[in-house]
Symmetry: C2
Subunit: 490 residues, 2 copies
């Protein structure tokens, strides 16, 4: 469809970043606001987020987590308690310093300064930890499994819709455990929940693994990540799970009486996924005609566009459309679009919105008891018996999901290279291919990665699944059997 | 139960405000945080809020509203556009002035000042209006029906959990319409949705009506409210719906081309309900033994407490408990509490948490195929055949709801007085009864209510249902047929 008047104004190959914006605009997902770095998530984009929330929330609850809500404001002196943590966030915190405004010469200015300024939460380990420390007195209170859905703020200098915004929405899980072993098991479990969500639900490509020491979450002992590959070959950190050891527990004095009557610090974890994943979803599956959505997070599985050529046919066509809807509505999300607009425009609106199956229904379809269905993945248009369509709806949706997943996985896997052995070869690889993942040997104790910084590449993760072959670290040349993933990233 | 070791440490009649705190603590709903005026909503309290959210969200969507998300930060100069609005909120806004912190002599201090300070939203008419103005070009784009679930901040000097906190959670609906008539109909519709939620779902007492001119929302043309009566006779404004006319539409230049091709300003509404309603719920139904919850928002309808007198009986009792649970779980929210704690303590925990039906199951119940059930509303304990209990579960829950509603309604109605005719009589009424509602004549054009301020009474609303009898305004003595509700309030 590229080049037709319906495709997006720009293709992936012409300008990937312009294309990304065009997909968002074309699908009406979000827009920039007048506030620097903050976006507006429009109703269609928010519907995708609501579906994601429901799937994750149900899964968290299945695993025994309960939701709660903690203050958004954190007194800045609380950050002084965890040195690594504050070092990681100091440069990007919005700070509240006053609690009213006054009109002076017709202009509003802040007044009533606060004694202790308040940070708007960039993450909540300290403030939630402080509450948990009050709630825990004995091993009987453990594990404590808390989750929070909320907004957070990290002041960003260069922002991009969904991927990097000053304010964003996320969930943050915070748990406390009796032993290191249990806390580690929790961090691993939630890492796997995210792998399931990203790879199995969203049909994205993702490599689960551990972050290298130099790129852990500020204050964590270990950080686990899912590294997804976008269509330009860059990596996107899709979700992270942290084993925090006793670092935060000590900072907030989270102490409990253990089974032997001794006082000990609890072991904690935290884990989160944000609206950033919507950006990852867009860059995984969309094409030059717009968004593509896996069925689990598609606000509509089927949209029916009535085509009324003459007004006499209107009631016939509308009745036929509504009857299809009523047969589908209990098992799928279906919409009849009866807005007053040209049907061709409507069809292409839903192509850009990534609706899996789009039906065009006119008098001809009514007369022949058929539907004209366009599959979003291929844009192939076919005529199908009405009852056949209805009885095979689940297969059609499953085929849609399979197509998305296979297309994404095949194209990503082709771009994972495991023959690069030196930094020079890595430079050449990225110069030739632009993006892609390099799987090479890496000594995980390395912290000086300036040689990678120079070529704007980073260690994305040490994959959970290791080859256990021996080799030499691509940076230091030291013997190591550890595989790591190297890539350019968002 | 008052006086027993299980009742709350303080009764309603001894100290209403202390009792309110004790109900919250006893049910583990929430706690104060270390941040001034901010509370932590604990898992049990948040579960109540989640149930409320789901009920309201479904209802809003039924009426065609869609959710979206807008920036939390509002540049303070945007407030300059609506004079009344800023006057209403200027004294209670948290202001972000810096976007990083720096460590100086080991202490963190704000750095990198912003050019234009940002208010943390106290409400979002202006920021959402600005987006809507971009989205609307023609009458075809109307009505635009948006809702947002989020946190808001109003800096409060005197705070009280749920009722008045610096940060709170709410939903705010914002809609734009072609005509005044349609916008007024929307404000009225949502007013009625709130009446349904508060009176029919939450079983609270509420008088729907309009706010007097002097107490409208800052910037509104008309404000509609539900005024609930608490057990101390004070009024709580439970939810409000505003007809905003073209005030905000003009402030943000929300213009559309009408059916005749002319440019016109849209008419807007806004409406909201917050976590404050949980405070209202507590003060409507709870008693000296703790919380009482209507079934719609009770995290558990039934809790089963196993009573294991000797370990040999454990598996019998547990199996019996689990079998009851599995028969109930598809239609009710049911928990078997198998924690390691004394059964009597557990039972009283669930009394304080307001669980409608509490079962105590020991060997005797197993042997006789019965259940021992305590109804939360009466604390009456009775033995009932197991299958009878299961088959009548819906009736038992319905009886619970009916009892709560009748008890609340009867006690509130008794405290609505319509024989007070003068301010002196009003003074005497409140001196004698402490609280209660006075229904008296009021000239709605009155704005000087200093005579009421002196006795800490306010006009709560002009009820939607009017008697249309003639009389004299209780403040000015002028002829009027308008009834109003006067009360002390939260």
């Amino acid at each position: 469809m590229a080049g037709s008047r319906h495709a997006l104004p720009v293709t992936r190959s012409e300008d990937f970043s312009g294309w990304y914006q065009a997909v968002i605009t074309g699908a009406d997902l979000a827009e920039n606001s007048t506030i620097r770095g903050c976006m507006v998530i429009k109703p269609y984009g928010f519907a995708v987020w609501e579906l994601m929330q429901k799937i994750l929330d149900d899964k968290f609850k299945e695993h025994g987590h309960v939701n709660a809500y903690f203050p958004m404001f954190i007194p800045i002196d609380l950050f002084e308690k965890e040195a690594e943590h504050v070092a990681g966030f100091a440069k990007e915190m919005a700070i509240v310093t006053h609690h009213r405004v006054e009109q002076i010469d017709g202009k509003l200015v802040p007044s009533s300064p606060l004694e202790i300024p308040l940070a708007v939460r960039p993450t909540s380990e300290l403030i939630i930890g402080e509450s948990m420390a009050r709630w825990i007195t004995s091993y009987r209170d453990l594990p404590l499994l808390i989750n929070q859905w909320c907004n957070v703020v990290r002041w960003e200098m260069r922002t991009r819709m969904f991927l990097r915004t000053t304010e964003f929405l996320w969930q943050e899980g915070h748990t406390a455990h009796e032993t290191e072993e249990e806390a580690r098991a929790e961090a691993t479990l939630m890492h796997d929940v995210y792998r399931w969500f990203i790879c199995d639900v969203l049909k994205m490509f993702g490599i689960p693994g551990e972050k290298p020491a130099y790129d852990k979450f500020a204050g964590a002992v270990d950080t686990y990540t899912i590294e997804s590959m976008m269509q330009d070959g860059k990596a996107l950190q899709s979700a992270t799970s942290h084993y925090l050891g006793q670092n935060f527990s000590k900072a907030v004095n989270m102490v409990f009486q253990d089974r032997d009557g001794n006082l000990r610090n609890a072991y904690t974890t935290s884990w989160g996924i944000s609206t950033r994943i919507i950006g990852g979803l867009i860059m995984s599956h969309s094409d030059d005609d717009g968004l593509n959505l896996p069925s689990a997070v598609a606000p509509y599985h089927v949209v029916i566009v009535p085509i009324i050529r003459d007004q006499a046919a209107r009631s016939d066509v509308m009745e036929y459309c509504e009857s299809i809807k009523s047969e589908l509505r209990h098992t799928t999300r279906v919409l009849v679009d009866n807005k007053d607009a040209p049907p061709q425009n409507k069809k292409w609106d839903y192509v850009r919105k990534g609706v899996p199956l789009i039906l065009e229904i006119g008098q001809k379809e009514v007369d022949n008891d058929v539907v004209c269905v366009t599959r979003r993945t291929t844009l192939a248009k076919e005529s199908m018996g009405r009852s056949e369509f209805i009885s095979s709806i689940h297969d059609l949706i499953a085929q849609h999901d399979t197509t998305l997943q296979q297309r994404c996985e095949e194209s990503c896997k082709r771009r994972v290279n495991d023959s690069v052995k030196t930094i020079d070869e890595m430079v050449e690889f990225f110069e030739t291919h632009g993006g892609g993942f390099v799987k090479a040997k890496f000594d995980p104790s390395v912290t000086d990665v300036s040689v990678l910084d120079k070529i704007a590449v980073s260690v994305r993760c040490i994959p959970t699944r290791q080859s256990h072959t021996s080799g030499k670290c691509i940076i230091t040349g030291a013997d190591t059997d550890v595989d790591a993933i190297f890539a350019k990233s968002y």
